[in-house]
């Protein structure tokens, strides 16, 4: 057990290191601005005094490295400073939005993961049949479509033509659970479609890879019924790749969520990021980027750790 813990700790340390480097990139990229933030925010028409005042207020008179350390120190305690545009605390603005985004991603994941794995296994069993080919073309089309295309098609059919679900997911505090699930159904379904296609293809590839190995052949030759080959022989070894697939796709959800939130005007962190980018509200942009990157790295880390736990061979790296 001890070696597993040390392996996991090593991965965790690596993840933290990468996150640290990313925080440096995120912070110092803003320093690359021609002039500085104060100038960029106020525009060309600003007087010298105004720019100087804003500089002082934002602490731009200090050297960059000091400001970086202050920013990082704040970020560790979830304090990202104040927005340039509204002047409010960044944490207060994006905190609840982050919760909304997490809710949407979880909603989509809860539907997509079991669905995709079962479908992936079925398609792997039926490989090279006509169903497999149809599923191949269908999933390829779903992956190749931009998220907003799927989103608008769903709006057209489910919201406009059938009137079954609302096209815009506006949330409020006093909504019941059912109402909440109903309103967020279409954005969740969009994410489900994209992620399911990805996961199905990857699960199928993982299982087929496994079914080609000699011990499966052996089981088949000694007369084990096909379903037992899958459940008893293939599945225990398939968990590692499947867990990997799931974690990678959850990480993918985090990026995909930005476009979907914009399509459905969902009050999540992706929407906040896009707004901040067009308004050049750098503290919000930096905070959102850091949060997205951290989630992404965390999920990739989970994929690695899951793989280590389910595949004993990875515990003894050569």
């Amino acid at each position: 057990m001890g070696d597993i813990l040390s392996l996991v700790a090593k991965r965790l340390g690596l993840g933290l290191l990468i996150l640290f480097i990313i925080s440096i990139i995120i912070f110092f990229m803003v320093e690359l601005l021609p002039g500085d933030i104060a100038q960029a925010v106020l525009g060309q028409g600003a007087t010298e005094e105004n720019v100087a005042a804003l500089r002082k207020e934002m602490g731009l008179d200090k050297p960059a490295i000091v400001r970086y350390l202050e920013w990082l120190g704040g970020a560790v305690q979830f304090n990202f400073g104040n927005s340039i545009v509204t002047g409010e605390s960044v944490t207060a603005t994006i905190g609840p939005r982050f919760m909304n985004t997490l809710f949407l991603a979880t909603y989509a994941a809860v539907i997509a993961v079991p669905f995709a794995i079962v479908l992936g296994i079925i398609v792997a069993l039926l490989r090279n049949s006509i169903f497999d080919r149809v599923a191949n073309v269908a999933t390829l089309s779903a992956i190749s479509s931009p998220e907003f295309f799927l989103g608008y098609i769903l709006i057209l059919y489910f919201a406009v033509n059938m009137g079954a679900f609302p096209a815009i997911s506006s949330l409020s505090e006093d909504m019941g659970t059912w109402e909440l699930l109903n309103r967020t159904f279409l954005p969740a379904l969009t994410l489900v479609l994209v992620v399911t296609a990805h996961m199905m293809r990857m699960t199928r590839a993982a299982i087929i890879n496994l079914l080609a190995s000699p011990y499966i052949e052996m089981a088949r030759l000694k007369g084990v019924p096909p379903w037992r080959v899958i459940v008893k022989h293939a599945l225990p070894n398939a968990w590692a790749p499947i867990i990997n697939v799931v974690a990678l796709n959850l990480a993918y959800l985090i990026t995909g969520v930005v476009l979907v939130e914009v399509v459905f005007v969902y009050p999540g962190i992706g929407q906040a990021l896009v707004d901040a980018v067009s308004k050049r509200d750098f503290p919000v942009v930096q905070a959102c980027c850091l949060i997205f990157a951290a989630t992404f790295i965390l999920l990739n880390l989970a994929a690695d750790v899951g793989a280590i736990l389910t595949n004993p061979r990875l515990r003894h790296p050569k």
């Binding site: 990468i18 480097i21 990313i22 990139i25 995120i26 990229m29 803003v30 690359l32 601005l33 490989r127 049949s129 006509i130 169903f131 149809v134 073309v137 390829l140 089309s141 992956i143 190749s144 479509s145 931009p146 998220e147 907003f148 295309f149 608008y152 098609i153 709006i155 057209l156 919201a159 406009v160 033509n161 096209a167 590839a205 087929i208 890879n209 990480a251 985090i254 990026t255 930005v258 476009l259 914009v262 990021l273 896009v274 901040a276 980018v277 067009s278 050049r280 750098f282 942009v285 959102c288 980027c289 997205f292 990157a293 992404f296 790295i297 990739n300």
Partner: protein, 353 residues
Amino acid sequence: MSIFVIGYYALLLGASCLAAYFNKRSLFMLLFTLTLVSFIIGIVGGVSALWFVTGAAALILLAGMTAYGFREFLVQILPGEASKEFKTAPLTAAFGMFVIFTYLVMGIFAPLIAPHGEAEVIASAFAPADDTMLLGADQLGRDIFSRIVYGTRNSVGLALAATVLAFLLGAIAGLLAATKGGWFDQLMGRIADVIMSIPSLIFALLMLSIFGPSIPVIIGAVAVIYAPRVFRLTRAVAGNVVVMDYIEAAKLRGEGTWYLIRKEILPNSTAPLVAEFGLEFCFVFLLVAGLSFLGLGIQPPTADWGSMVRENATLISFGDITPLIPAAAIALLTVAVNFVVDWMLHRSSGLKE
């Protein structure tokens, strides 16, 4: 029960029986499953759902026929070797090539095809379609059809430029890393690791927020984001070639790094690189489309598919599908490139699955 519904099921059942009689097992399975699914869809969605299925089937049939015709056409006009290659190409690949060909023609001859200029205001906002405007007007009264045609040039051109730059950066770094090895290899590998651990869309948004959305910035940002993927693949492919004896021989002959890359390594690793170029283009194209959908791509009044979807999205709430056409154009090209890449991978590496 209308004539249509009766005809629909009669046709499906008749076709399945014929397929079963002539021992076309997979065709029979497909048709009969479609019949069973139609029962469910028909009960839930009514006749309109059955019309939808019919329309989709007709569309797929049409695409299949086009692909078949295009493949035969290519087989006829191409000389010896190439013609043989195309004879064995699957229909999906032929369809993909046909779509790419169409887009090429549309992009190159855009001013001749489009009836109006891309920024020309010719009607009132959201004017309905008439004789001169095939798809009606957009939110400023510009012809949507002309803008879609011009959009081919701008959207695909931008994505292509970004892919080429990403490819140059990644491939050169990868080849150098494979031949030189040592600290350069390590450094490049670590840089690639860091860039790949930031979600691509987020990284693009960060860079665009800082440098502002102009075309060179978009191309540069996207190239930086996707170069590491190309780097990794090139390094892996070239790494297998570098250990060969003939490279050793060339080194002993006293050839320089550049000669090794150009004359020895590159010719032996083109097939996977070309396939990767196609895949990379799909990713880049989707990312650029996403950015322009968010209003951070090519700036107006230049026509661009992603932003066109966003600008006309209000029409969707009136049940109008025109805003979806540019989005469908994006999806169609990505699918087409994927089909062709699939075929190429299959051919070059003997990839079985």
